[in-house]
């Protein structure tokens, strides 16, 4: 399968401050790629470099086979970008905002497309309300609709669910999955670890460096399981690998011991695995 994004040895600095250090990554076409990292890791800078809004110091970026800096005008028709802040006109309605950004792309039958995207993002009922009256989550949905109006082949979402309530977050991810199902590549940045599990591939970015790239399942396999047990009034702890075989061996051993009154298994979650990785660095 083809790659929608290929980045080789990318470096970006502001003066002496290095923001991105030798970044290498590939994003498979039609997949959901998660860029995970704490605030200030360089996620927004990397996304801006990929959408052609940022000059890089060295390295190569290819988006849909094109250089985003040299072919920015060709790429803008195929790339959708949802910034971290909603970046909308508060005095205009949701429909007017979507239509305005759509007009930049000379889309044939724009009005119909706007109606379709309003329906897709479940905004039809409030399409004519000024965006300033919307909640943060609703504004993010309008922002997503603006990024999708020209039917892009790849969409970059910068922290799309930050400060969004759990219900809206769930619905947003249902939308992303739907888009991915249509063959659109989704590149999503987040600092929320629970979202990492919803991606096909994740990359951990810390202080401008990519620490690891893998599937969420493989990341989980890197973690450990702790077995806490109570024996004759005292609490003991055993560390086991996360694979079921080693866990079974440990449990079998404990199960035969007399005097054990309680056993608890604590598995590393994605958050603790990522934290261990970033802390090690």
């Amino acid at each position: 399968m083809k790659n929608s994004v290929e980045i080789n040895s990318l470096n970006k600095s502001y003066g002496k401050f290095s923001v991105l250090k030798n970044v290498n990554l590939n994003v498979r076409e039609g997949s959901i790629f998660g860029l995970i990292g704490p605030n200030g890791a360089g996620k927004t800078t990397l996304i801006k470099a990929m959408v052609g809004a940022l000059k890089i110091n060295s390295g190569e970026i290819s988006v849909l086979g094109k250089n985003p800096l040299k072919n920015s005008w060709e790429l803008r028709r195929q790339v959708g970008y949802m910034p971290q802040t909603p970046s909308l006109y508060g005095d205009l309605s949701a429909r007017q905002n979507i239509s305005f950004f759509g007009k930049a792309q000379n889309i044939p039958g724009l009005e119909k497309e706007v109606e379709k995207i309003l329906e897709f993002t479940e905004l039809t009922d409030r399409a004519n309300d000024p965006v300033r009256n919307f909640s943060g989550g609703m504004q993010k949905r309008v922002s997503l609709a603006c990024a999708l109006i020209h039917s892009p082949k790849i969409i970059f979402l910068d922290e799309p669910t930050a400060a969004v309530d759990p219900h809206l977050k769930k619905r947003s991810w249902e939308l992303f999955k739907k888009l991915s199902g249509q063959g659109i590549t989704i590149f999503v940045s987040t600092h929320l670890m629970d979202e990492a599990l919803l991606c096909d591939t994740i990359s951990i970015l810390r202080a401008g460096e990519v620490l690891a790239i893998d599937t969420p399942q493989n990341f989980l396999a890197r973690g450990n399981s702790k077995i806490k047990y109570e024996k004759e009034g005292n609490i003991f702890e055993l560390v086991s690998g996360s694979d079921p075989a080693s866990l079974a061996i440990q449990l079998k051993k404990l199960g035969l011991e007399a005097g054990i009154t309680k056993i608890e298994i604590i598995q590393d979650n994605i958050e603790s695995i990522v934290l261990q990785m970033t802390d090690k660095k």
Binding site: K48, A53, R77, T85, S87, Y89, L92, Q96, F100, A104
Partner: protein
Amino acid sequence: MRHAFIIGARVIAQLKGDKRFLALSLIAPLIIIYLLKLLFDVIAPAPVTPVSGFMPIPLPTFSASKFILPASAFIVHFLSFVLCAILLVQERTRGTLDRMLISGFRKISVISGYTIGYFGLATLQALLVITEANYLFDFNFPFKTIFILFLVIWLLAVVSVMLGIFVSTFARHEGHVFPFIPLIILPSVFLTGVIVDPEKLPALANLLGYLFPLRYANNIIVTLQQNTYGFSDLWPDFLILLGYAGALLLLASRTMKEKE
């Protein structure tokens, strides 16, 4: 050019949606001109009818139009500059400027679009200011003079919009606009004929005055107040104002960054 009109239409829709901003930019100049009327009524009271048996005291002649028209031009210049600069900086801080450029609008379309959007506001401002000044101070100018006055104030407003766009390219947030006010706007008051004839100023100050577009607008306003004037007396200053607008448009398109 199509993109410029799309952005212009959006600016107009946005202005219509922001009633407070619209009211402020249209009503504020009218309030200031009314306050000037109150001030001039104190400085130059109506002539007193001489009492019989006393010799009438000759009062110094005072022409309100000599001050009020340049002051009106200045108010429009100042407000258009500040409001446009702040609105465009807001585009940057809100992220909509980046989004526009990433979506496929070019920076020249953004600048032209803003200018088109403000044409309407500048026209309304110029019309209201001229109508109020003429009504309050009873200038009794012929229609031709009033029309040219409208034209010069309108053109000055357009230049101010361009200046606002240009300055906004140097500002990261709204607060960065304010240092430009003492740098660009306030010297206009002293050096361009709003208060004193710039020709009476020291040579250097007079020379500096030529840097400000208000100087050329005031030159036209002064000429219009003479009993006779011809097109040849006006066009050089009109041409310079147009040149200012063009040069600022070019400068702004050079200084606005598409990529960080």
